[in-house]
Structures are given as structure tokens and as C-alpha cells.
Symmetry: C2
Subunit: 334 residues, 2 copies
């Protein structure tokens, strides 16, 4: 692999001039620039990123911290972030860190300070005070997604409102016995957004005077999790709910599958609404609150770029809209 010294020698100029010619900073004559460029072309020269990073102080890379990779929301988000960063010429360095794991400490203590990232995108992670302090030492701008952090820029939807609107949709259809499906009651592992969605559901129930009928069938925010929670909720024939609000579409779809299995007609006997507009939602005719994780990812990149270009700029929090998409999994209560 050739270095800039090779290019300079071949073009008959100094390293300094070669660097200026290729980067476009400083004065270089038209003719010299062309000579350097073709020399670089001939040697198929590509600048060494570490050397560049060391000299300029910018690494052209962004660290991305994710609590999980195998759920739809996070995978879509990651895809959006990746596309955005790649388009801007930044590399994405991925850390998949389960909440509260030992690796998490190592990440904050050693890994993040070692690479000087130009920026950090943290997804669904509520950094502890100590971790936040470590992040600030690194001095790279942070954008969090779905975590409502105060000090940093942030992207999210209004989880509270989304769940409230979904629940109101069911209430408007005449439903009274509405169960919230999925989500862990344990606060430590409960994703922040899930907690807010549960609160939104509770608020809607309370506003309709249905406080005492509110019920949470806990479970993992996944299809099997929703399935199991639904089986439990539907098990009692005497007091069967007439509608589900899923903590996410995966849980809601689990509920749909469970209902079908138990011979309960979705819509006619049981309305189900989710939150996400998952790629499978349409297939299951699921009514849901649409959010667009890919868009959230690319918005996060946009916010990050803004802060990288001007570190003095104040952090910006944006809340993306989510809208009710009515399909045929919801119908009037009987």
C-alpha cells in the first residue's frame, strides 16, 4: 500500500503540497493538483485512516450502542443509522450491550475513551450518572434515541401519547375490558419507552373512568412474549377481555396468533391494536400506531452531524409523529 510520500515523489512535489492537492485546503496550482491526482490514481493511493485521524483529531467514525439487535425496532433503527452515516462518509462502530451486563462497564470505561469517536448514538439506554460523566470526558456529542435524556440531543416518538391514542381508539369502539399486553414490570430491564406506553394506556383508561378495569398482562415485548401473556389473559372464560393494546406490534401479533389458536375471532370477538407498524403488521391486518424507526435513525444522524459541525449548538430534542393506522384487527365491541 502506498503512502502520501510515494504520491508526492511520483508527482515531483513535497508531502505538504501533495496533501494540500488531495484535500483541497490551501493554495495549489491547477496543474500541480492534476499531477498529484493522477499520481495518486496510478498508485491507487488511499489515505490511512489512523494517520489521518491522529493528525486531524477527527476519526470519521461514530459509536453506536444498542441494547439488542434481534428485535425489529432496533434492527430497523440500525439500518437507518447505518445508511445515514455511510452516506455522510462516517463509519459505524457497533456495540451491542445488554442492559446491566459486565461488558457495559468495560464499554464506558475503556472502549469509548480509547477510540476518539466523532459522535455517539445511544439507543434505548439510560446512562447512569457515572456513565454520563465518562461520556462527557470523551467530549464527543451524543444523540440518544428513545431515552429522553436531558443533556443530549434526542430522537423519539411520544410513547405515552401513542399508547393513549391506541387505547382511546378501542374505548371509542365501545371496549371496556382492555388489557395491556407485554412489557416487563421489572423497572430495571423495562425499556424506558415501554414504561411510558403503559402509562399512556393507564392514563387513557383513567380518563374514561375505567381505572379499575385496567390490567397489565406482563411479558417480554416479543411475539412469544405476547402470545403467552395473551393465553393467560384469555384463559379465564368468565372474565375475558374484549381488546388488547400491545406494548409493541410483536406482542400484539403474539396476541392475534394466540386468539386464533384459541378459536377466538379477531375483530369480531377480540380487538387488537399494536404500536410500531411492524413489517408483519399488514399481514396480520393489525391496527397499529405507526412509527418509523428507520426515519428515527436517519434523524439521529442528522442531529449528530449538526452537533459535530457546531459543538456549541444547544442539544435538540425532536419527537417524531406517530399515527393511527386502522386495519381490520379492531371493531366495535359487542
Amino acid at each position: 500500500m502506498s503512502t502520501i510520500a510515494d504520491v508526492a515523489a511520483r508527482a515531483g512535489v513535497s508531502k505538504a503540497t501533495a496533501s494540500r492537492a488531495l484535500s483541497g485546503h490551501g493554495y495549489v496550482s491547477e496543474e500541480t493538483r492534476d499531477r498529484v491526482r493522477s499520481a495518486a490514481e496510478e498508485l491507487s493511493y488511499v489515505a490511512h485512516s489512523s494517520a489521518m485521524s491522529l493528525a486531524t483529531g477527527r476519526s470519521l467514525s461514530v459509536g453506536v450502542i444498542m441494547p439488542s439487535l434481534d428485535r425489529w425496532f432496533f434492527a430497523e433503527l440500525l439500518a437507518g443509522v447505518q445508511e445515514g452515516l455511510f452516506a455522510e462518509g462516517y463509519d459505524l462502530v457497533l456495540y451491542g450491550i445488554r442492559e446491566g451486563s459486565a461488558e457495559r462497564a468495560r464499554l464506558f470505561e475503556r472502549i469509548l475513551p480509547r477510540r476518539r469517536f466523532d459522535g455517539i448514538i445511544a439507543v434505548g439506554i439510560q446512562p447512569s450518572a457515572h456513565e454520563l460523566e465518562r461520556l462527557l470526558r470523551v467530549e464527543s456529542p451524543v444523540v440518544s434515541i428513545g431515552a429522553y435524556s436531558e443533556g443530549t440531543s434526542a430522537v423519539s416518538i411520544d410513547d405515552f401519547a401513542a399508547a393513549r391514542i391506541a387505547t382511546e381508539h378501542l374505548i371509542d369502539l365501545g371496549h371496556r375490558d382492555i388489557v395491556f399486553l407485554g412489557g416487563q414490570p421489572d423497572a430495571a430491564t423495562h425499556a424506558v419507552g415501554d414504561r411510558r406506553r403503559l402509562d399512556g394506556y393507564l392514563a387513557a383508561m383513567a380518563a374514561a373512568g375505567l381505572d379499575d378495569r385496567a390490567q397489565h398482562a406482563a411479558g417480554a415485548p416479543t411475539m412469544p412474549g405476547g402470545y403467552e401473556a395473551a393465553v393467560r389473559a384469555l384463559g379465564d372464560r368468565r372474565q375475558r377481555p374484549s381488546a388488547f393494546v400491545g406494548v409493541c406490534d410483536e406482542a400484539a401479533i403474539g396476541g392475534v396468533v394466540a386468539a386464533r389458536r384459541l378459536g377466538i375471532a379477531v375483530a369480531a370477538e377480540l380487538s387488537v391494536v399494536g404500536i410500531d407498524d411492524h413489517q408483519h403488521a399488514e399481514m396480520f391486518s393489525l391496527t397499529t400506531m405507526r412509527q418509523q424507526p428507520r426515519l428515527q435513525g436517519s434523524e439521529a444522524v442528522r442531529l449528530l452531524r449538526a452537533r459535530m459541525d457546531d459543538p456549541a449548538a444547544p442539544p435538540e430534542q425532536i419527537v417524531l409523529p406517530s399515527e393511527l393506522v386502522v386495519r381490520s384487527s379492531t371493531a366495535n365491541a359487542r
Copy 2:
């Protein structure tokens, strides 16, 4: 952020000694080592990765190229790779590149040569001759997953055998009209593994003298793709198949959902077998050929480490086993 010069000054030694004390290479007295270590501790010193990389020639990072992030197999794989790399102290730099996109050229021309990766993991990508040449210039070892590349180390399952065994399972149950569900007929976008699975299905059909009954309901290798293909295949009431082999579990589950929708009893009237053992397979009681993408990911890391430690070592191809998991989506033909 402090540098090694700060640490050296605080410990009262030279940069050289400080470096040796911290890295453990070369002679340093016990007492000096301790002094340097506590100086580093007090300054919360962390070595600058670019400087280290420039000096040593090793970047402690691995490039990972993936064709998609939103499918279960790839997400699981990525999780396995990520865990493996993190445990070994390597960073994962992610590139999500759609087959044949413009970004792909940029990746091979500029991005990969710029960063000097210590290794590259390419998933489901068949590099062109020109791309392979670029990869070799970079001189970092490559491990491919699921792509059967000759020059490089590789990890995969035997896709051909997996589909053959799945199909034989159905034939043994007395099925004759077996449709292969999902997978794109277009060779350019058809993932290599999907093609091999189709071939395995065809071979099993041929071996049982069922060549003329073999039928491929094409579609995306996803749940909606399988759903649509199944609806088409089940549409003709006169010639309804008695069994599906899904190109993957997602397609197979799409088939199960389609059958339920159409009022066709899975197992009793229609057997369905998939390939993957997807996280949702159990929920749908799907009989399937189990493969473990996480394991494939960590094995890929192991192979990569082997080649990084000894570049002269010959590339190693390993084929991981896949086994038939019989659940209740398959039954004797009527």
C-alpha cells in the same frame, strides 16, 4: 484527555518506559511498573486508538459486511459476531450493503482500503473478481459466512443437505405434491444459500421420482413473501399441494399463516417444514431444520482470529451441522 507523556511525567520516567510498563513488552522493574500504572490510573489514561494503530499497524477492528440487517438470520449472526469480537477486544465496524448497489463499489474502492482492518467478515456476499482483487490488496484476512468462497476461510451450514433432509421428511410422511415456498428466481438477487436450498429440494424430489411434481412458488424469503406465495400455491383448489418446504422459517411461517387464514388445517391438511429454527418457530409449532446463526457468527470470529494470529495458515472452511426438529406442523399425508 491525558497522553502517555503525561503519565510518564507523573511517574518520573520516559515515554518509552511508560509504554513498556503498560503494554508489558520489554524489561521494566516491578517498582517502576507499579508507579506507572498508578499514574495512569490517577489520570484515567486510555491509549489513543489511532496512535496505537498507526504505531503498531494493527487497528483492533474488524469490518463486517452484511447484505441486510432486518432479517432474523442476519441479525442473529451479527449478534454472534459482535459478542465474539467484543470479547476478544476488537471493534466491529458495520457496513450494510445491498447487493449490487452503488455504495458497494465505494465500499470496496475506498472504505475498506482506508481503514486498515485487522480482518473482514463478509456475510452472504459473493465478491466479484475485481472486488476480490481489491480485498487482497488490503491484505487483511477474510472470513465469509454462507457464501462458499474458495480463497478465504468460510463458515456455513450445508444448505443443500438441509433442504434435502427437510424434503425427505415430507416424502417419508407420504407427501407427493410438495411445493418449495419462497426465494427469488432471479439469480442476481438470489442469496447463494437460497439457491442451494432450492437445489436440495429438487434433488430430493428427483431421488423420489417426483421430478415432474416439483414446484417453486417464488417470493421474498420473508413472512409476507411466504404468505403471498402460499396464497398463490393454495389458490387452485383442484391441485392443492399437501406440503410446503419453506426456503426459510419466515417464509414457512408465512405459509402457515396463509393456510390458517384460508381455513386449511396445518398438519392435518397441509404439512409445512422450514429451515432455520427461527425464534418464532416454536410458537407456530413449526417443524424445521435447525441452524444456529449466533454460533456461525462466533465461529467466524474464531476462524478470523486464527488467520490474524498466523496469516500463513491455510484458510479453513467449516460446515456447521443442522438438524431436523420435528414439531407439529408436519403429519402423514392423507
